[in-house]
Symmetry: C2
Subunit: 491 residues, 2 copies
């Protein structure tokens, strides 16, 4: 049975949490008295569905069930976790917790607050140990950070349970060791925000110039290493101490106006918003969201390729889910393979996959085939471990037919049929399907290789046994139309 | 003749500038009295060579000539631009400028200073108008930002000349409208640095936790949108004013310790450096540099795919260089095509192209073919404009043979031979070459398509004329070994 989370407060943040839980297979019960809540959440969810699955190399679990409720009590029924994202008013939060804890005593409550400490949130609660801060960053369905901040009333077990739930939905829980206002992330955001407001007010730079200064320079560094690791490099071979010695004195220089706070008045608001309109007004907020999401997907995918930073979190999350997925597939094989092509991969056409025509670019069909074949190799026991031990299947040649078109956002799947196999090679025929339409076929011969010897060899007996069983089951399938074709051959 | 820049001061920053100019085809004369300068610059250059070309989709120009000189006078001879990156001591900078201006009166001098204003730098100079700030961010060969800051003594022409030189080497010049200490970028870095030091000192978080808080959250946002555009989205449909109203009051909250500066003493230095060792000490600085560069290449490439932010800068730089490259290729065609395969693409195996075996992943051979064919289409007049006007060549089927292996960093090229062509289709045979080794062949049939009608059609007469001329020239070439093969066919 699916696990269940309750979401109280369904704005941009609550909606983001809803999407993250749902797409990770949890059921979600939402409570928000705003009559617009359902519409707002469905919009966030649409964005999330177009972006989050693009980070996964393992088919997503079936989406959980989303329900909206008229009372907090109904929403929290059967939930093991609540994410509270209501307005930053402490008395409102206290009221919400009282109702949650009455309806579902013992439920764990994480708060999205960026203004209150756990100690503040826990006041007046009969079970303060079950209330903790889990502070995310927008968009919640893409950015992994969740700052976990408890008080001395939270047990280690509660903290660890929260950490585990965050990991289960693919987040990076950062446990903050001492209770402080604004946790860690927002302290930096606040510092930069103040400095930026001064620059605007003093007419030094516009909102656009400030954004360019960030995203053309240090912003790119921070997305993958942060502050200290970046500076460690700047120190060069002499290291961090050298960097400190070099730049330490700047602390005393008059570089910043941070010692003072600009007056927050209508004039300042007008200045910022009119400049922001000039900079970004040509895009609607929805468009900006989609642009942002696609950029973030690009960053996160490239970090995932490198197994670094946030990309490492994605890989670990995949690995946890891959085990379950492959166990499921394995069951099907162990009970005897069927005479039907194997659905070995499910993918979505990503922003980086399309060409200037707006279609999935040709080489991505080959990529889709590789994903399909790689999953098949894992299935027959010739995955990463097998490669690490020095054996592998290498593709020798490949024939691709382009029969249709896939477009941005389309969901496609790879279905694999074994045409022939022996102990040293197999010939596969993969159909890339978009719903019932076959958009491409890929026929391929893969050779088994002893990587150390650098030559063709026999597969390990247990791998061959699985391959053979599937090949025998598939032998009764008709030879696919187009198999055995050469390029340019008449039909 | 190549343009020439002089580099005075050859540390990490000077070395980064050297690399950027050289790889963009400029000759570079370096002056640095440090006996280690040549070694240091060659190390930065090695990093740059492994990363910067990976951002380009147009073959890089031939590298400029790098020379080291014993005097400033020799280094600046024949240079149209000087980048000064010596230590932050004003009397040293003044001395350097005096020698530069004596040896090459009228030469434009940009300073990498982060501490001095143009007014400070210009003092005592006979030609203050030729001295300006051009402040870069490390690594200079990858990050596009160059903050251009002049004083009232600089003419608009000088500012524009600096801007143009920065664009010529692929940077994003940001002209700062008023002279301020630390320009824009470093003001933010300083604000964050102060807040970070407080957190460390107060034991709230370690260097590693702070880095995670940045790179798992807002750091990812900042690399592509910056501060204000991100907050514009956070304001939702109600926009920037709503965001300001919501978060403005936080300016008065006690979230930050920025009103005060932590004391800079040995204890603080020790705290930071020991935590940094624990966090990153398992990597050498060189390793961290390579990891950083590969991450940045990933970010920048994904922004380039989306034509957004720093990726837009890359595209514009490519376009400027593509025009020259294609004009050169065109000359070869206009003077009558030769009976030899066309070298249509030069590429480098990028970090994102390799599989778990460490080899160039299969689908990237198809990608390399697509790059080759796309450049060919541009050559015969069927490029982006042709597609925009509603006509295109679509690939119908493709046969790939994997004959060898390319590894990370290998330079490969795509050589194209036309096997047959008529007005409605052509059959191409591409060899992917690594030096003299053919690592893959790709045979393909492309059909000419009227995109509106959605069906096969005749190519425009001027396109067909070029295609036909090349096809006729190639008709005398022998049919390549492997052409016409089907998958699994016996040799």
């Amino acid at each position: 049975m699916a696990r269940k989370a309750a979401i109280v407060g369904g704005g941009v943040i609550g909606g983001g949490w809803t999407a993250r839980f749902l797409l990770n297979g949890w059921d979600v019960g939402v409570f928000d008295p705003d009559p617009q809540a359902e519409r707002k959440i469905s919009e966030v969810l649409a964005n999330a569905r177009a972006a989050l699955p693009a980070l996964s190399d393992v088919p997503m679990p079936p989406e959980g069930k989303l329900t909206f409720h008229g009372t907090i009590g109904e929403a929290v029924e059967g939930a093991e976790y609540v994410q509270e994202s209501v307005s930053e008013r402490i008395e409102l939060k206290h009221r919400v917790y009282a109702q949650l804890q009455q309806a579902n005593p013992g439920v764990l409550i994480g708060s999205s607050t960026s203004g209150f400490k756990a100690t503040d949130l826990q006041q007046g609660s009969p079970a303060p140990e079950n209330i903790i801060v889990a502070h995310p960053f927008n968009p919640v369905y893409l950015l992994p950070l969740s700052e976990i901040s408890g008080s001395e009333k939270n047990t280690e077990a509660t903290v660890q349970k929260t950490v585990q739930i965050m990991k289960d939905i693919g987040m990076f829980p950062l446990v903050i060791r001492h209770e402080i206002d604004a946790f860690i992330g927002n302290r930096f955001l606040e510092a930069v925000w103040r400095e930026a407001l001064w620059m605007l007010k003093d007419g030094i730079a516009t909102t656009e110039e400030i954004d360019e200064a960030i995203r053309m320079g240090f912003g790119l560094r921070w997305g993958q290493m942060g502050l200290f690791e970046t500076y460690r490099i700047a120190g060069g071979e002499a290291g961090m101490k050298h960097f400190m010695a070099q730049f330490g004195p700047a602390l005393k220089w008059p570089w910043t106006k941070l010692m003072d706070v600009p007056e927050f008045n209508d004039e300042l608001v007008e200045l910022v918003s009119s400049q922001s309109d000039a900079q970004s007004g040509m895009y609607s907020i929805r468009e900006l969201e989609r642009i942002r999401d696609q950029n973030l997907v690009g960053f996160l995918r490239s970090l995932k390729d490198r197994n670094w930073g946030a990309g490492k979190v994605l890989r670990e999350h995949d690995e946890a889910r891959a085990a379950a997925f492959h166990a499921e597939m394995q069951k099907g094989i162990d009970t005897g393979p069927k005479a039907a092509p194997l659905v070995m991969a499910q993918m979505q056409v990503l922003p980086g996959w399309i060409d200037y025509n707006g279609h999935m670019t040709e080489s991505r069909y080959y990529f889709a085939n590789s994903e399909t074949v790689d999953n098949f190799l894992r299935l027959i026991g010739a995955g990463m471990d097998y490669v690490a031990a020095g054996q592998s299947f290498y593709s020798a040649e490949t024939h691709i037919r382009h029969l249709g078109e896939a477009k941005l956002g389309d969901r496609i799947r790879g279905e694999l049929q074994i045409i022939s196999a022996d102990e040293k090679r197999f010939r596969s025929f993969v159909r890339i399907m978009k719903d019932d339409e076959c958009v491409a076929t890929i026929e391929q011969v893969c050779l088994h290789v002893d990587m150390k010897a650098g030559k063709s060899s026999r597969a390990a007996p247990e791998v061959w046994a699985k391959l053979q069983a599937i090949a025998e089951a598939h032998a009764s399938l008709p030879l696919p139309e187009g198999a055995g074709r050469a390029v340019g051959q008449k039909r």
